[in-house]
Symmetry: D2
Subunit: 436 residues, 4 copies
């Protein structure tokens, strides 16, 4: 007896076939009766294309799941069990602006870290709080699985300012694990990584293969040039001395903090030639949607991998299944700290290993306190995030300036002030909280 209703906000995204495939793969453990793809007016066309593909995929898989498409979010939310948020306020155009506007100050532009991620957070917070309010009214017991970036900040805003049950998700930890699995050439089920940090700032502190600590072996592989990155980040190799000094596995996004100069140069070059990542993605997406329109296509097309977002379905659907099936298995997700990392407030969100079951996520305590050599960066970014949330929720200009001034990628308060002025004028219409 199928019973689960899933709502995907930002349902018209090119990623949707990935998550649909996830539900198909887990059909035996997740009795989904309906998946509602929600989008906004501007995304209607893409919603229709991807919705039709989703239907063909379910049909091909011989699955009795109803795929609904709607622009009416409140109607969709009614009595749902899980809400997955993968929307992007302002679309790829806004992302492209996020990536470009800091460059003129010689500051990195990126969609989730630095001033770009800050702009995205400010645009997203009012919308996610709206969604949470709707959920409170229409499906108060539903789980919100947030995939919208910056995922840690958005999740913290929800957990601090609403009562909605929310878990923040990111495919970085699973991506790192799969890269490690591939380096070691072993089966993923035998590998366990102790993760600790924040979203897009997570370290693999130790890697265990069949219960044996193989961290050093992984570090040697990295020193030999093993790949550890994601589609949207250049696979710049880590200095060997740094890997030795670090003694743990950095995440791909650490490059923004630890190799700022090289990535900035790369970004500036790209901006002048092939375009920023968003501008490249727009082309990939255009071609993807052409593929999606093909009425003969009834599976996730392999080209989607290029888009990024690999393992998204594993991250999201397996999390949903662990909750629904009371599995008590381990996921690396964004949850309230509650003492897990010392020096970070209890109600702030961290990305750590959690036991997941019907009750939600319970962080595993750490095997030892976080090393001082990484605490500085963690705290620094976390206190930036806290100011960002305060600024984003309350439309507080002072907090916004302090947030940017504290961001490790912003070199001075003068530039912080200018960045904030620029992003305000670039995001007119998306920052209602600052225009009260």
């Amino acid at each position: 007896m199928n019973e689960l209703k899933i709502v995907i906000i930002g349902g018209g995204s090119s990623y949707t076939p990935e998550i649909i495939e996830g539900f198909i793969k887990r059909k035996d453990e997740l009795p989904v009766k309906e998946i509602v793809l929600v989008d906004i007016e501007e995304g209607k066309e893409k919603l229709n294309i991807v919705g039709a593909l989703a239907k063909r995929m379910c049909e091909k898989a011989n699955l009795d799941i109803r795929i609904s498409l709607t622009l009416d979010r409140r109607e969709a939310l009614s009595d749902t069990d899980f809400v997955v948020t993968q929307f992007r306020v302002g679309g790829l155009d806004a992302r492209a602006r996020d990536e470009r506007f800091p460059l003129k100050y010689n500051v990195l532009g990126q969609e989730t870290v630095g001033p770009g991620g800050f702009a995205k957070a400010l645009r997203t917070i009012p919308v996610i709080l709206d969604i949470s309010r709707d959920m409170k009214e229409l499906c108060p017991n539903a789980w919100l699985i947030n995939f919208t970036n910056p995922s840690g900040i958005i999740t913290e805003a929800v957990l601090k300012y609403t009562n909605i049950k929310c878990i923040g998700l990111c495919n970085v930890p699973i991506h790192m694990k799969m890269d490690v699995v591939s380096m070691l050439d072993v089966s993923s089920k035998d590998v366990f990584i102790e993760y600790v940090g924040l979203n897009h700032l997570v370290w693999g502190r130790n890697v265990w293969y069949k219960g044996i600590n193989v961290t050093d072996r992984v570090i040697e592989k990295l020193k030999d040039g093993a790949e550890l990155t994601m589609k949207n980040i250049s696979d710049l190799k880590w200095p060997k001395k740094f890997l030795d000094a670090l003694g743990m596995i950095p995440c791909p996004y650490h490059r923004y903090y630890y190799m700022t100069d090289r990535l900035l140069k790369e970004e500036k070059d790209a901006a002048k030639t092939i375009g920023t990542r968003a501008e490249q993605v727009k082309k990939i997406e255009a071609s993807l949607f052409e593929k999606y329109k093909d009425k003969n296509l009834d599976v996730k097309p392999p080209e989607l991998e290029k888009r990024g977002g690999a393992y998204y379905s594993d991250a999201a659907v397996s999390l949903i299944s662990s909750i629904y099936n009371d599995k008590k298995d381990i996921h690396t997700i964004n949850v309230k700290n509650n003492g897990t990392i010392k020096g970070i407030p209890d109600d702030s969100v961290v990305e750590v290993n959690c036991l997941v079951d019907k009750r939600g996520a319970t962080p595993l305590s750490l095997t030892r306190p976080v090393e001082e050599k990484v605490l500085g960066l963690i705290h620094s970014v976390k206190f930036y995030e806290i100011s960002t949330i305060e600024a984003g929720v309350h439309g507080n200009t002072n907090q916004a300036i302090m947030a940017l001034a504290n961001n490790p990628l912003v070199p001075s308060v003068d530039i912080a002030i200018k960045l904030f002025e620029d992003l305000c004028s670039l995001n007119k219409g998306y920052l209602p909280q600052f225009n009260k």
Copy 2:
């Protein structure tokens, strides 16, 4: 009955007349029988010059204090009551190198913050630990009043790795207070500032005039351009929006973190023209020592103020007096955190208001937890400092690289590695711990 014996290590410094004046001013409360000026072979000439001046100063003040000069530190330490450290390993030449070597990577060179301060810490730690070992043997009950920079790091090294009673001192807090007093045009005894932070990273959270909170008034003065700086730091004005956002009084050294770009430009210009600060100071010192040689000079010459170090005697001698006289008054000094600032280890050193009496320094607890808008920077610098101490004490290259990588002024791990290589070759002979 005079009874106190004071040892000043680095006694040949141009600052010595300042501290001698301090003892003269407090002659009624501090029964000093002997001040021993200790220096090393290379400083012998300066020691003799400044020692002779010190004697003339005491004579002129009609004071029965014996001024002794020696190159034998151990002899000096025997049965002393207070040891004041104001030495500089490698002298101004080493400082000049500290100021120059980061510039080629577009990184700030400064004697106490950034890679320059890091180099100075590595040079100083072995020497201060040697002094502490001697004290343990020769004057185990003496107080070590450390003025050698980076004062917070050096003090933390002593407190973590020895049992010596040590307080770290800096003239920044008193300098800030005197600037505030001057802005408000009031008497200094009516002004009280709640300080919180680290050495050279201390904030005046609130200013009270006769018990009334006048912080906003001080911020308005700063926005109107009131001076708040020190001889060795350009009085770059703070952006008004930033002061509003910060809501507290930054210390002069905050400019290195908050106005990095402007100060870097200034430093690079100076390096090409008038020379770095150390190079300028060398000239000032040369002219000062010419003055000191004048047998008719028997007071602290006014030119010393230019050198920097104003209020040094107030900071040091009044601290000694509070201890000796069991005064229970308040000093802003560097002591073990012991829970004062959340998120900083108990055994790390912070710069906060303390009650001082014969028992030593007891931090006042904070009126409210430190604001998140400054915690990021505090934690970030503190964890850099912790790694620096580990590197400096144990000669650990990995810790050294992580320390530099975590310093907010160092833009990438690649540069951190290069900076460390450069400073090692520039400081040959001064870093025995790395050449074991």
Copy 3:
């Protein structure tokens, strides 16, 4: 120009001449223009007697202080500067009941600790919150100096549930100090004690004479039988082995926890013969008020000392003076913990040394963490207090039962339940919060 207005709630108390004397002694530093003695209808007669004496005392001292008497609390509070609370809900009759009702379960009856103190807390909390609400409206900037017992609990209730500036006061710390001064036969100004604990559960961790640690000498004196107690507590001598093991100075009230059996026996004997302490005090008070009526009496009569409450004026008036005069001297008072004692919530009240000035009280941090050998009792009593406050504010029966069950003097949950039933029926009319 006299300017201060002081309101004393419970002004008809026999203690009032003590505090009046305090104001007289400090007339040069405290420009009091008016002291309003407030009481309730039932206390009118005593108010008139003691009020007349207060007037005569001021007159004799040639002091221009207006003494006003009123039953209208709100009128009194208008525009006042300091409010001192020394009232007793239910009077000595209620206290006598508090002292008797636990005895039948072989449980100690006492006015501030155990079930008796619990009953007193429940009676007092609604009244103190009422007063605080009035203050919020009528004198929002006034300081509330709370002397009403159990002082720590009452102060914590005010600080948790109102915005009133409140400091809790008790004469135990000063009493201990004066006993130590007397043991050592020295001047009180040369003695400093590091206190730590809770109200009526405070330890003198270390005693310093002229900056020298003389704790061991004081312990030897105690082992030799030196007196350390208060009028209302038998001077039962501490076992020598226990003093050695404790290594610090217990407060007189510690006997209730550490010598429960001996005090219980004593109380039960007294209850059958000379009466409980309240019953004895009633007689002392009757004779005191006879004295007070004497129109020739114009100073505090020496007989008041017998009543207890010695050093009350020192504790209260000198605290008021330190605030008013921005003195920055040290008082041992009840304030929010804010990290001072580990393991106790930040917003719970502890009794520790504080710097006091116009801004209020700032706890001194501890010289070392509280010893584990006393933490068990501190935490145990504090969590009892926290439940008591919750019960008392919200009229929550479950919290009341848990509070009593957790009180170290209550031997079982069965007895806790019975005690609560008994005290409810004995305090009808005084526990409105449980009769909503």
Copy 4:
């Protein structure tokens, strides 16, 4: 290929057939090649009897496990994988003394809590540290699974004073779970309990049935008289009002703290009539060993259940299997706190839910901070335990007196001192640390 070597210290215990049965039941997941039963000279006869039974059990189960018997502990430990400690220093005679000696002071005598448990801890600590030292030398990678009571204290002593990997075990949590399962009449695999507390002081904060919180239902069952106890503790019913106030599931041992008076009376009666628990157990054991001698007996006899210790094999062998098989399932065990319960030192042992795998035990963080209504008791007992360990390891009389004075079951310091004197003379020969 069988590979595991298991050493059971105290192998002659009547419980041994229970753990042997555990290994037999898990033969498919645990490839045990040898189980060495170790005992001391005095236990030789019992060792031979129970060893012979163990061999018959393995034979009957057709299992290729070698059962070895030895009095040479060091020989046994060589290259072992798991060491299980179930020894009892001084045997049942010492336990009987522990149960009797406090009674004369009207204090509970019990083998694990109160002065009896304290005496047992002092006897056991020197022996467990000896075993740990041997392990360090002979099997440094082995796991020590400690079952010897007081299990929390003994485990904390090992974890604080050695580097041995040690987990403390107790059958109370699983016993509680099985009682709850039986109340709810459901399958044990569908029930999950969040446990929090200390050994023999653990609360079931919440009970979940198939992911649904059914705590209230369990409390109702308890109010209706459902059984929740163990063989050695009277099933005294909890007052209904107390259960409502508590809102969680107390463990059977909580009765010693919450129903002290009733249990004391019961114990005193028993001591005069049927004998203390140890005296009763001696009879049960005698009859058990008679059974064990029967050459036809080749399974665990059902009479063993009466002895207590039910679910022991589930607790111990399933824990070993989770480690060996890297299972990542959840056990309620005694491990270092590491921030799990606020206010308890990081290096103190708590009893909480842990994920167990080849790396050992990782505590799950709590779903919310521990309620203040139980923190008082937890902290109080924990600080007693900490003093007990210090006393037991260092033979420190002062710490011993403070430990007893802080034990919630000891009513005064006078009695604490007498209890310590009595237990010293009763345990001559077993307390070498106090006779140095």
